[in-house]
């Protein structure tokens, strides 16, 4: 049981490049989330999904896109990367029916845009 798996762990992009951050969970969780964490700041919600085929914006969605074609996968797409997108990105998931609704987090992707 791997939990939440994120790839890659590190990536350097040039301004204007695009990339997809991968996230997969093997716990059959309905809810999945993408957060970004900047130094000295709290985790900020980018996008979330409550099930396959359903996604919605969080607090800081500009410059990102997501899709949810399966329960397991929730990739985050960066189009036209900008230095402001330099951050650590965390994917998380939780069960729809849970006694304490805790989130399970991946180990993160550290992204630098230069």
């Amino acid at each position: 049981n791997a939990g939440v798996t994120q790839t890659p762990k590190f990536r350097i992009l040039k301004i204007g490049q695009s990339m997809t951050l991968q996230c997969a969970q093997d716990m059959n969780h309905n809810y999945m989330y993408w957060y970004r964490q900047d130094p000295g700041m709290g985790l900020k919600l980018i996008y979330y999904s409550v099930g396959a085929g359903i996604t919605d914006k969080g607090e800081v969605p500009n410059g990102y896109n997501v899709s949810r074609s399966t329960t397991e996968d929730f990739p985050l797409r960066l189009e036209l990367a900008a230095p402001s997108q330099t951050s650590v990105y965390f994917c998380a998931s939780r069960d729809r029916v849970s006694t304490n609704e805790k989130l399970f987090f991946g180990s993160g992707t550290q992204l630098s845009v230069l």
């Binding site: 000295g40 709290g42 979330y48 304490n100 805790k102 987090f105």
Partner: protein, 112 residues
């Protein structure tokens, strides 16, 4: 607007020196308050969920408490392995997707 404020930003303790971390929150309908531990280079790891004022949860040297306006994470006789960043988060009934709103965290350093 739902908000979470944690204090202090950083805390240095000697091994065995007990202390508390604070998490103040404003939320329109608290569904739950969460504490996470985050080690450098890793994702947050769940510690506790608290749902109502007066509730307490314990795990080893950690004890979390909740009032209507704040939560405390008490650390009793800490050890160097307790060094980490501790994150507080709230979940409100009004938050889309029932996502968590996080504070900036308190970085705890315990020296031997």
């Amino acid at each position: 607007e739902d908000q979470v404020t944690q204090s202090p930003e950083a805390l240095r303790l000697q091994e065995g020196e007990s202390s508390s971390l604070n998490c103040s929150y404003t939320v329109s309908g608290l569904r739950g308050l969460f504490w996470y531990r985050q080690d450098p280079g890793k994702g947050p790891e769940f510690l506790f969920t608290l749902y109502s004022a007066g509730e307490e949860k314990e795990k080893e040297r950690l004890k979390a408490t909740l009032t209507k306006k704040e939560s405390f994470l008490h650390i009793t006789a800490p050890k160097p392995e307790d060094s980490a960043t501790y994150l507080c988060a709230v979940q409100s009934y009004n938050q889309a997707g029932t996502a968590l709103i996080f504070g900036k965290g308190t970085t705890l350093s315990v020296s031997s």
